[in-house]
Amino acid sequence: MTQHGVAMKEERANLPTPESSAPSEPPKLDYAVPAKKSYGKDLDRLIRRLTPPTDPDLRRWWWRRFVYRVALFLLFAMIALYFGPNLLEFGKFTRPTMADYVPLVEQRGVPKALKLYKLDHGQYPDDESSLVPDYLPERIDGFVARHGSVIGFVGHGEIVRYDAETTPEEWYLYGPWLSGSLPLPPVTVNPSPRPRTRPAG
């Protein structure tokens, strides 16, 4: 027997015979098993949703939906950050301006009473109680007069101040929302006809 024949014989001997091998199990099919969730697929889906489609018609509608969503967000932001808080805090949709404080200040007559007192007494009063009842009909809540200055505590945390001894005389507003000079002229008074209790100066 040739060497090739010997090799073939050995190979044939090593092959398992049908009777000796155990019945093999059928291969497991894995296409029916749901695939595990992976970050990559979700990210791909998110990216697919955030990018416009290639079809021109669908692309046009995608951009319309995008503008619509941006408009909704802007509406929410305007209500939540501007109009809503202003309406709740100030009673109007916009922030208060200097002009809103003018009627509040004009209704008070404390600086005028202060100057009339000085004309009559030659000096400013120590406090606002001295102005009542000759120069003010009643004490005005929230306003304090001290030696030629008037300080008023108005709503929303603002303070208005009038200093009759500085140049120029002006109403000044200090507050968390606004600060600055109020558009009001200096307070002027005519000499009082009442007889003075103390000499002027």
Partner: protein, 73 residues
């Protein structure tokens, strides 16, 4: 035909489900799909109402925060 939820094109769907989000639809029932890939008028109105309500709720929080900050507490 477009999906109510994700606005995907349902004309390519082989089964009666959206190929993107698997939302079921019935080709014979127009209420189960959209004619165009955009919210309906009813849904737009609902969006506006919800946005306004949520905005008002957020405005309360913002106003409270501003009041606390301005009062210095």
């Amino acid at each position: 035909m477009y999906c109510h939820r994700c606005y995907a094109d349902l004309r390519q769907a082989t089964l009666r489900r959206c190929p993107n989000c698997l939302r079921p639809f019935d080709p014979d029932n127009p209420s189960t799909y959209l004619v165009r890939p955009f919210p309906t008028k009813k849904r737009i109105a609902l969006h506006l109402v919800l946005t306004t309500l949520v905005g008002i709720a957020a405005a309360f929080v913002v106003a409270l925060h501003q009041l606390v900050r301005s009062s210095g507490h």
